[in-house]
Symmetry: C2
């Protein structure tokens, strides 16, 4: 079946999917699509990686499949720097298939494909690009390899679909049916689908993903030689800011290199703010210095209120109340049971860590209108409740 | 009773405490000490603030107390820039009292006091400083004012005790008994007491508190004009890095101004790393560029492993497993009940936020040796468990 003539909206169809690259994401896609009824073929330059992916049930090895079985969709889940080459090869080898990739940046891959399609000696033609759609599932990457794969990896996560677009004319190159299939794959894996231009996508992830990664790494890097006595004072602020500094250097070299321009543009702005702050702190009592500091913090205030909350809902200030519990199994559950029995929904929950004591704090975020009622009812039930 | 001759170790004593400054922290100290049996006097330049603090039970107004009632301990809980003046005034007015302050930075206040003690015209003498001990309770500051006060605010939080030290000779000025009383106050309020030199304290908080605050504000500030479509892709990474950007500008002007030198020294290092990264990203395919990026991320890796975990325990990698739940009251409690029934302790818990779907993910951190057993048992109980 040629998917360009068979949009997902028509009837429920389960095209055969080839996954090229069976690391964490490729194998997870395989598991998820098989669970959804698709026939999944697997291929990876590493015989071990593809064998493990097949063993855990992510699909059947392409090399063991009869030549008659051709994929209708190819998903390239290769490392970012290998992606454009793999997409081109798939478009040429499977001349009727829709080909998707899932790399973290999109414009550089598209530019690479457009160059290849211009090259008279290359087998790839510009017409082939109607079957290509770039995508970016924004799912966990802390672990790698097919062993860590799970079909539920994409549940509720954003999956950005970037139809190929001619950068000079702005014309969309991807066929509408190919884009619909890309979105359908994301939805079938439980993700929340967003459609975005490749350049806009890269600018967006530079800001909301690459910038925080750089900031976390820069801050964590300063801790390398910190005295243990200083680190012992660390609170949730430091833990929150540095958490993602634990990321994989190899992957981030590829991500930042392939999105260098949008990232560096943001860093210019950051550098300007930091230079101003350094100037102020070098002479903090000079005229205007205190106003400069106040402005930086105030600008951070306005920026952070724009970060959406849970479920992409508009940013909302929840009211927080803290329950003090003993640090033993079952205590948090007991808290939440009582909260549920009072009938209040917990919008967010954090454990407050602290040094030395075997006492924990459970921070509950609830709708502001419900907080006082909840605090009162929990106190009546014997909990130590802190409202600040 | 003169506390310099009556260390807390001797017998259980509950000295009369005057709290000067009845904002969130001052009023919380009052509530906590009263609950511990102390007589607490309150005083604040704002008649409203001190009246509210008295109304919520943090203590008795000093101005309504008979002249015979003199405090044996004075705790100055004024804004940072007013602290040194208030400490000096208290040392002079109550010539037998131990005087503590609780401002977020310590060296500048001590230097200010030493200057005042040198001034022949000032009433303060160097001998008075034997009764002064600087302290810094590292407790929540998101809300301000006595209304938000709670006696449990300091439970399990670090409280740094900084005996006054002559910066040139290094000799300790605070009397040992005064330092013991400062530590005792922290312990009686449930905090974990750390002892540290004022200069070392300021360097420590510059790194573990002021640097993350600046990084969070700088990143959040970049979001002010971000398109809504970009913000819709935000994940926990951005949320974690920017959370503390919601802090109070007025307070942070005072904190950063009073700790300008240690902070700016750290920012010089950060700027150097950032300049190198900008240079690399301006020409990411140049020789050595990719190695530079990898090095930044790797240095972040080594820094973040040094951040202590829960209860100040040595950094430990917990194994994470994620349970997918419906977003309705009681689901998280049900998860944790089952975890408790399996007998595994949850070391950390986070809710995974995601855009669009009414499905939540509960991320449980457990000792690595218990994870697989827990995952298996939870799956048997019917939960959707993701191990990656």
């Amino acid at each position: 079946m040629n998917l360009l003539a068979a949009t997902p909206a028509s009837v429920r169809q389960t095209p055969t999917v080839l996954i090229r690259g069976t690391g964490l994401l490729g194998a997870s896609i395989g598991l998820g699509l098989r669970a959804d009824g698709h026939k999944v073929l697997l291929s990876d330059p590493s015989p071990t990686a593809q064998a493990i992916a097949a063993d855990i049930g992510a699909g059947t090895l392409l090399e063991r499949t009869s030549a008659q079985t051709t994929p209708e969709i190819v998903i390239v889940a290769a490392p970012p720097e290998a992606t454009a080459g793999e997409v081109a090869a798939a478009l040429v080898r499977f001349p009727e298939a829709v080909v998707l990739d899932i790399a973290s940046t999109k414009a550089e891959i598209l530019n690479h494909l457009l160059l290849l399609a211009q090259d008279e000696d290359a087998a790839l033609t510009r017409a082939d690009l109607t079957r290509y759609v770039g995508t970016h599932p924004m799912a966990g990457r802390e672990k790698s390899g097919p062993v860590a794969a799970r079909g539920e990896l994409f549940t509720s996560m954003p999956w950005v679909i970037c139809p190929a677009t001619d950068p000079s004319s702005g014309d969309q190159l991807s066929a509408p049916a190919a884009v619909e299939w890309a979105e359908e794959i994301g939805r079938r894996l439980g993700a929340t689908v967003h459609r975005m231009d490749p350049v806009r996508h890269d600018e967006s992830v530079a800001l909301i993903s690459h910038l925080p990664q750089i900031a976390a790494s820069l801050v964590a890097s300063r801790l390398q030689d910190a005295p243990v006595s200083a680190l012992a004072l660390a609170g949730n602020g430091l833990r929150d800011v540095t958490r993602i500094a634990a990321s994989d250097p190899g992957l981030w070299v590829q991500i930042l290199s392939s999105n260098a321009r949008p990232v560096v543009e943001i860093l210019y702005g950051l550098r300007e703010d930091m230079e101003r702050l350094i100037g102020t702190l070098e002479d903090p009592r000079a005229a205007g210095g205190q106003a400069d500091i106040a402005q930086l913090i105030a600008e951070g205030n306005s920026g952070v209120t724009r970060v959406p909350g849970k479920h992409g809902a508009p940013p909302q200030s929840f009211a927080v109340l803290t329950v003090i519990v003993d640090d033993k199994p079952g205590q948090i559950a007991a808290v939440l049971n009582d909260v549920a029995s009072i009938g209040v929904n917990v919008e967010d929950l954090r454990m407050e860590h602290s040094a030395g004591h075997q006492v924990g704090m459970v921070e509950l975020s609830v709708l502001p209108g419900r907080r006082d009622e909840l605090a009162e009812a929990m106190t009546e039930l014997g909990w130590k409740v802190v409202l600040s």
